[in-house]
């Protein structure tokens, strides 16, 4: 294979980019223009940015707020930022936040109601106003997969989650193909990454070395193509595509963790009385962190409260967790009253009964539950211990 010099092809505006076209190449200024184009089309741009010693997802005004030259070091129960000398904008793995904080909000008013003397409580408004249109920049392959998992939960069942639906419909997804997997990543085991093949409007692969800093842009939708029409770009050459592929291949070979996933749902279903559940329960704090950082966990509680006069009522939905006693509370008590039962419920739902319920695994291999567990419980190690042959 021969590589042509990149300067042969002029940068320019390509007005007729469509889904069928090949990939494009942009530089940092092109990325800045893309951010501006999203803003001018009314999107609120959410992207990775550094805050409080971590790379979080937050609203940004431009690419200067991206974590340039920052990376993360992740291990069970530990996350630290570090620096890298190549100035990469996306040279890190996923952090404490996931996109669910925008799509499935941690707290939302379902409705408000007012007491009517004859009709009882009457809803006075149907939920909150129309959602913001978000552009998510830096969505990793595991996160694209996670959003698709939540789509099945919230949009494809018999009840559609209206708040989620309104936010999801408007969301513009710019994926970033991972180049720097974290110490707790295992997307390769879960077949969700490190490359996103679909589920995005645009997908960027960052090519950065001493000489150049460019991004191969794959176009995944018509509106993705439309927005690229306003961004200076040039068609990606085979050497650019080869370099992008090499980024993903290298990431795939550097996963921090592996998990045995073959036949896992059936095998776990037969291990419900395994002594390992007691072992993990001795370490687990039931603190809920694993579930709340998980990009697919969708449990919530719904609370009705009244004001002091008893005439105004609010129904609120909040993130909840299978690790709280109230979550499984029914008449007579909590169904899962011990940490052992709670952890077993979480792990077997995520990796086994989720498949029965939704047709896919509930785990995308992002590693957040491992990194953000205060006591460093490693899902992949727990599964390995459960599957290990008895002594």
């Amino acid at each position: 294979m021969t590589f042509g010099p990149c300067c042969d092809v002029a940068w320019g505006i390509h007005r007729d980019v469509t889904l069928s076209d090949g990939a494009l190449l942009i530089d940092r200024r092109g990325l800045e223009t893309l951010f501006q184009a999203l803003g001018s089309q009314g999107y609120t741009v959410i992207a990775p940015t550094v805050r409080d010693g971590a790379i979080v997802y937050d609203e940004v005004d431009g690419i200067e707020e991206l974590p340039a030259g920052v990376t993360d070091i992740q291990q069970p129960g530990s996350y630290r930022l570090s620096t890298r000398d190549d100035g990469a904008l996306f040279g890190y793995a996923v952090g404490p936040h996931s996109w669910k904080k925008y799509l499935f909000r941690s707290e939302a008013v379902v409705f408000r109601a007012r007491l009517d003397a004859e009709r009882g409580f009457v809803p006075s408004e149907a939920g909150e106003p129309a959602a913001t249109r978000y552009a998510f920049v830096g969505v990793r392959a595991c996160e694209v997969a996670a959003i698709e998992v939540q789509d099945r939960v919230f949009l494809e069942g018999s009840h559609r989650e209206r708040d989620y639906e309104s936010r999801r419909d408007g969301a513009f997804v710019i994926a970033v193909q991972c180049g720097e997997p974290g110490g707790t990543c295992f997307c390769v085991s879960m077949h969700t990454g490190p490359r996103a093949e679909s589920g995005f409007d645009l997908a960027l692969t960052e090519l950065v070395d001493a000489q150049l800093h460019e991004f191969v842009v794959e176009v995944g939708s018509a509106r993705g193509g439309a927005i690229m029409a306003s961004v200076p770009s040039r068609p990606a050459q085979s050497r650019d595509l080869g370099a992008a592929r090499a980024v993903s291949d290298r990431a795939a070979s550097r996963m921090g963790r592996t998990m045995e996933s073959d036949g896992l749902p059936q095998r776990l279903a037969e291990l419900l009385e395994h002594p390992q559940w007691d072992d993990v329960a001795s370490r687990c704090l039931s603190c809920t962190n694993c579930t709340l950082v998980c990009p697919t966990c969708f449990c919530s509680s719904v609370e009705d409260t009244t004001d002091l006069t008893g005439t105004e009522a609010i129904r609120t939905r909040r993130w909840d967790s299978c690790f709280t006693l109230d979550h499984s509370y029914i008449h007579g008590g909590s169904v899962r009253a011990s940490t052992r039962d709670q952890y077993r419920q979480w792990l077997t739902h995520k990796l086994s009964t989720w498949v029965d319920q939704f047709g896919t695994s509930g785990c995308v291999g992002c590693g957040r539950c491992i990194t953000w567990c205060p006591v460093g419980i490693d899902l992949t190690a727990e599964v390995a211990a459960l599957l290990a042959p008895a002594d």
Partner: protein
């Protein structure tokens, strides 16, 4: 007999035992909401608000403070006897408060050191929560309690429903707020995983570890928490001090701190 009556407003009494008054002042801190409270209830006995008092019985008694004297142990029974519902507020009333540190020491020794005339001091050896003496309908945690939770408890009482006060960990509030975990990302010792929510994750929101003001969460795993604190470099004396603050007497915290002491004695022997 069919004469319509104006419904009597429920009467509320606020009582103080061994405490700093901070929790009952939370009621006065309700500001605008205080007017709403005053509109719905008769504040029959509330010395922080006014000297006028109406005799019992009361529909709701709000009790602050712990029991530290024989006199108070008798008085709480009288309060209970004239109250339809009794709600305790704050770490003192629900766990014995910071004064429960005496439970780990020798009160006579303290008296001899602190008072010139210790013979005039009449006190119990332990500081105990109200629920150790009389039945309690609801315990509202915190040092101090949270204003919105107090209003929720009063509102729930007025309308005969269960208060929406969650007994899960502080971590839930941190994650809902989008906070970066101070333990995982900074290595800061934090009692959030074993502490009940209610403060809105106040300290972690300012990058401080949780001090445990709201006492143990519903099913705390103290042995694992203690291991984690040690792993983070907190020595045993430090772990004991973390567990012995406002909720030192709460059984899970008390047992964990005593277990560390017992371990130290075992290794000395």
């Amino acid at each position: 007999m069919n004469t319509p009556e104006v419904p009597r407003k429920p009467s509320i009494a606020v009582w103080k035992f061994a405490s700093c008054d901070g929790c009952q002042l939370t009621l006065l801190d309700c500001e605008d909401d205080l007017l709403a409270v005053a509109g719905e209830v008769e504040l029959a006995y509330f010395l922080e608000a006014g000297r006028a008092s109406v005799g019992g019985p009361y529909d709701l008694s709000i009790v602050e403070g712990s029991i530290t004297t024989a006199g108070d142990a008798a008085r709480i029974r009288e309060v209970r006897a004239m109250s339809k519902r009794l709600v305790t507020i704050g770490a003192c009333a629900t766990a014995g408060g910071i004064q429960a540190l005496r439970n780990f020491g020798d009160v006579k020794e303290f008296l001899a050191i602190v008072y010139a005339q210790p013979q005039f001091i009449s006190t119990l050896t332990d500081s105990t929560p109200i629920a150790a003496h009389v039945p309690v309908d609801f315990e509202l945690r915190g040092c101090p309690i949270t204003k919105t939770q107090l209003l929720e408890v009063i509102g729930a009482f007025l309308h005969g429903r269960r208060p929406n006060v969650s007994p899960h960990s502080v971590c839930v509030e941190c994650k809902r707020a989008g906070n970066v975990c101070v333990t995982v990302a900074h290595g800061t010792p934090c009692l959030g995983p074993v502490t009940q929510a209610g403060c809105g994750a106040l300290c972690p929101s300012y990058n401080r570890g949780c001090y445990g003001c709201f006492g143990p969460m519903e099913n705390p795993n103290l042995p694992s928490m203690v291991q984690t604190l040690r792993y983070q470099g907190v020595d045993d004396g430090g772990v004991i001090r973390m567990l012995r603050t406002f909720n030192a007497g709460a059984p899970p915290f008390r047992d964990a701190s005593e277990a560390i002491e017992a371990e130290a004695r075992g290794s000395e022997a």
